[in-house]
Symmetry: C2
Subunit: 420 residues, 2 copies
């Protein structure tokens, strides 16, 4: 290498030389790189991903690429996202210990993170398509969302620390811009990179013709782009979760930003709802109802755990400047009603973000495998139409909807609906 600090995409051959001097890695996999085996396993879209195995164990090496290769041509994307991803992983590990892969080493010049190798974990989206269940999934995810939302906000953090962090993450401009365009705007007009299933036009035209819906979506975009309540994962879908039968981890927070407390929750639930609506294409008649019920039970558990954990943290860790005990408990007054009002607001926002995510995953650039893997185009269209219609209902009624039980009722209703 001419200059070891100059970024370049690394080859499996170069990795040994680069990493063998890092004690944290040697400790985990052995110190002699000649005994390491290195495999590139990523899809090369945004990142190179290597598994490095040695006599004592294995680690994952993730290196950012300076472009996205989603659409034939490449789309430049700053390498600094690895810096933000590393910062996000460190904070998430503090706020919900064990929920994210452990970071062993970060190399800023090479935009490279060495982290815990998760095995035998699989990407949750694939498990949902394959009909696999994960014990404790809903409570793990609800807890993760509650802990990161609460502990990253001024309910918990010192304001000076939180504001400094907002300044740090405000440098991450290009990545949120992707979400702002692809999630909140492109689905609602004829944007260049959009695509959707044949036959969906009437439903799509209905959404794009609904000015009130689009105004509500843009209002949520304003909240997403101008709200620094807490540090959000920013891309918490079932492809950012890896699970075994009984353990889960949240990965890939490169879309980290400060944002609304309900954002991750809404994106997450949307992806479970899409898994739910897509099931008729993936399950036999005998398994379908049972597995769909299980997915809804996971959503229910996500909300129940989120709210229970948030209330627990409110009662035990409310050390920030917001809703201070000086105004409530120290004056002999309960702050429980204030907590419940805030939770109702977070839930309503989550429903809105959820509806939007359901739209963009079938209309905008990045679709998801739950629907994309369906070969029968007509079935795909019918299932996507249910998903789109429920998304619109959520955007329109997010404040009025109320308890998660009503969300599940809506899902059951749209799942039984044939949309022309």
């Amino acid at each position: 290498m001419d200059n070891p600090d100059q970024y370049r995409p690394l080859t499996p051959e170069e990795l040994g030389g680069r990493l063998s001097t890092v004690p944290a890695i040697a400790e985990r996999i052995g110190s002699d790189p000649s005994q390491w085996q290195v495999r590139e396993v990523g899809d090369g879209n945004l990142n190179l991903v290597f598994i490095v195995e040695g006599p004592k164990g294995a680690v994952i090496v993730k290196q950012a690429l300076p472009y996205v290769r989603l659409v034939g041509d490449s789309w430049p994307l700053p390498l600094y996202r690895a810096f933000y991803e590393n910062n996000a992983l460190v904070r998430q590990a503090q706020r919900d210990p064990g929920a994210v892969p452990e970071v062993h080493h970060f190399d800023e010049a090479q935009a490279l993170i060495v982290m815990e190798f998760l095995s035998p974990h699989r990407i949750l989206r694939r498990k949902l398509i394959d009909g696999e269940r994960v014990d404790g999934l809903g409570s793990f995810l609800g807890r993760f969302c509650a802990r990161t939302a609460f502990r990253g906000s001024e309910l918990s953090m010192k304001s000076a620390d939180k504001k400094k962090d907002v300044g740090l993450f405000s440098g991450n401009v290009e990545i949120p811009a992707i979400t702002e365009a692809l999630v909140f705007t492109d689905p609602y007009y004829d944007a260049e990179m959009n695509h959707h299933t044949e036959g969906l036009d009437p439903v799509v035209d209905g959404l794009r013709g609904d000015a009130k819906l689009k105004a509500r979506v843009q209002h949520l975009l304003m909240k997403f782009a101008s709200n620094t309540e807490t540090m959000v994962h920013g891309d918490l879908h079932s492809g950012s979760i890896m699970s075994t039968d009984r353990e889960s981890k949240v990965i890939d927070p490169e879309f980290v930003q400060y944002g609304p407390m309900g954002f991750d929750l809404g994106m997450l639930v949307a992806n479970f709802l899409m898994a739910y609506f897509s099931q008729p294409a993936h399950r036999s008649a005998a398994e379908l109802a049972g597995y769909q019920d299980w997915i809804l039970s996971v959503i229910d558990e996500v909300f129940a755990t989120f709210e229970a954990e948030f209330r627990h943290l409110w009662a035990t860790e409310r050390t920030g400047m917001l809703y201070p005990a000086a105004l409530f408990e120290d004056q002999g007054q309960s702050s429980e009603a204030a907590c419940l009002a805030l939770l109702a607001e977070i839930r309503a926002e989550a429903y809105g973000f959820c509806g939007i995510e359901m739209h963009r995953r079938t209309l905008s650039l990045a679709h998801n495998a739950d629907f994309e893997d369906i070969r029968d185009t007509d079935l795909k269209r019918r299932l996507e139409a249910r998903n789109l219609a429920m998304g619109a209902e959520l955007v329109h009624t997010s404040e009025a909807l109320g308890s998660p039980e009503r969300l599940l009722d809506l899902a059951r209703r749209f799942n039984a609906k044939d949309i022309p």
Copy 2:
């Protein structure tokens, strides 16, 4: 001076040497400092303020002090606020040309801003106490609030520029912390620096005993501290406005931060309402009703102009990523309803911030002369009680209140009320 770049509070004698080499100043007042006259005119609380007069004209020199001298002892305050104030003045001048004093020179090392000398302008608060009227005041202030709110947001700005600016201003931590404590929290418990008029205890106890009110206030604090919709002045009261009989300027944006679009509007209106409620102590019976009506007409004009100007900018300058024409006009759909919904939300937030400002100015550390100049303690108490009661009503009903006409009705009702 040993090191000219080392900060120290300057004396009138030193100013000539410091400023005579700056062409922008020489051009305005003359280039020979031996012909200049320098007077220190500030109250020395947070800043030194000098008037520098030469043969060709005069300029104002404002130098930040590293402390606040509000309460006997000093309270350290970072000098970097002059940097933010200068940045704010530059942006406000771009967004509403002529609304703020022109900046001639900024010296970061000395935390010193040289700017336009306003004459024969007087501080608006004093004019309101003295019963003077200012032509066009409401429309000037409504326009200033609308232009700075709209043009500093992602309705207008490129997202990358706006986010970079959020990063820049996020360094201003100590100043917003003053607002967070003194405005949103201290009034509602027995905070150390609080003071209030003798006899007000029953009203104050009522506010502090109202957990629902405090929860609503803290919810607005969360919005204030975690919302980066636009660059706000941050301290837009009648002491931050200078007027002649027909011209006004907005000064002193050292509390600048990114915040909610309705914040400046709410603080401003609160200060007009306090001027209104205090008038019985300052006017003769013959003048009272007429002058109070004039103050209410200014508030009415502030809202009417804010909304008209915001709608005008929405129609003509909506060049940011929010509510893009691609989703509305380009599809043959009006976005007017979306604009009106956003305006209704801004107004509701403004009412809430307004109620809080009315509380803090009679209960927390920094009171205002409208009430403080009243010698008759019992009259003062009765007028402040009206003000506090209306503030509580506004915090409780901000979303439901609706049009500004209903705000004015409320003011008239509380102005006629005797609160025990």
